[in-house]
Symmetry: C2
Subunit: 167 residues, 2 copies
Amino acid sequence: MQYQEAKEKFISTWGSLGTLWGINKAMAQIQALLFISTKSLSMEDIMEELKISRGNTSMNLRQLMDWGIVTKVLVSGERKEFFTTEKDVQELARIVAKERSRREIKPVIKVLDEVSSIKNDGTEKTKELIKQTKALRELTDDLDTLMNKLVNQKQNWLTKSVFKLMK
Amino acid sequence: MQYQEAKEKFISTWGSLGTLWGINKAMAQIQALLFISTKSLSMEDIMEELKISRGNTSMNLRQLMDWGIVTKVLVSGERKEFFTTEKDVQELARIVAKERSRREIKPVIKVLDEVSSIKNDGTEKTKELIKQTKALRELTDDLDTLMNKLVNQKQNWLTKSVFKLMK
DNA sequence: ATAAACTTTCAATAATTATTGAAAGTTTAA
DNA sequence: TTAAACTTTCAATAATTATTGAAAGTTTAT
């Protein structure tokens, strides 16, 4: 496999994996392209490489910047904007975990709290609803906490003590 | 908030959260309905509660059974089939984690391996591609391993030692 | 063997989500 | 101030994904 093929394979795989970390295909592909690029890229560069429209590129770059994954870089002597992504995978994971927690998990916990605190009228079905939503709330909360803790250990978090402990 | 409202809120929230654990809306809603139900339900029951068609119900129930989340139960004296879901949240998490690892994460690791093992022709861009896909491969693999380990600790895995260690 | 009771399949359709491209908006240089 | 260079916006459209419903298939009771 040569460079070009490998690059395309990486970009398309990472793109379709986007759903796993909660973002859309174009967004993931732009990030993937920047991730393996040795220099920052302009909108023009990205459009050309990924064969997507200007509008699409603009919107998805903005979203990536909202997530804090991509940043603008000023290239002296150039008028147009250039973009780069966080290059450290662990920092990337930290950002993604934090954002998903904030955007998706926290709101769900809130709803589960509301649902599990309805008045217990003593009926079987009400008891079951309360019991099960409470259990789910706790699990979701635990997973969220764990994820954030893991991911906030900036140095070697995975390969160090936690990991060994669990052998 | 009364029972009916709480129930609907739970089902719709859990349904839209489906993407977070990688399944579609109807599938997640069926699972949610079964999860808070005190007895097993027939296809008819599910169709009626969720206002979805017979075909949709049938297909999504089959998928849930493929995942190993839902099982048929035989109700004596009844000809039609009844369904129930795993009621223990931790066991549920275990199943979901295992399936997602198998269906999504493992295949990605395979591609990252292929890409990162291309011939190093010494150019900057090739070195970058190899370096970054290797880093991503390791992170993905570590997260996958960790997830599986966590989730295979059947008893109190979250609230016990791991959790305390990370305080 | 037959028919009633039930489930599955799948082509058609609907709903949702992503993408385009051109007009409007903004910034910079002269 | 003007105009060129660039970015953003958003209505229209395309692509994708989910859902329906009726025909085909299966199982069970008699």
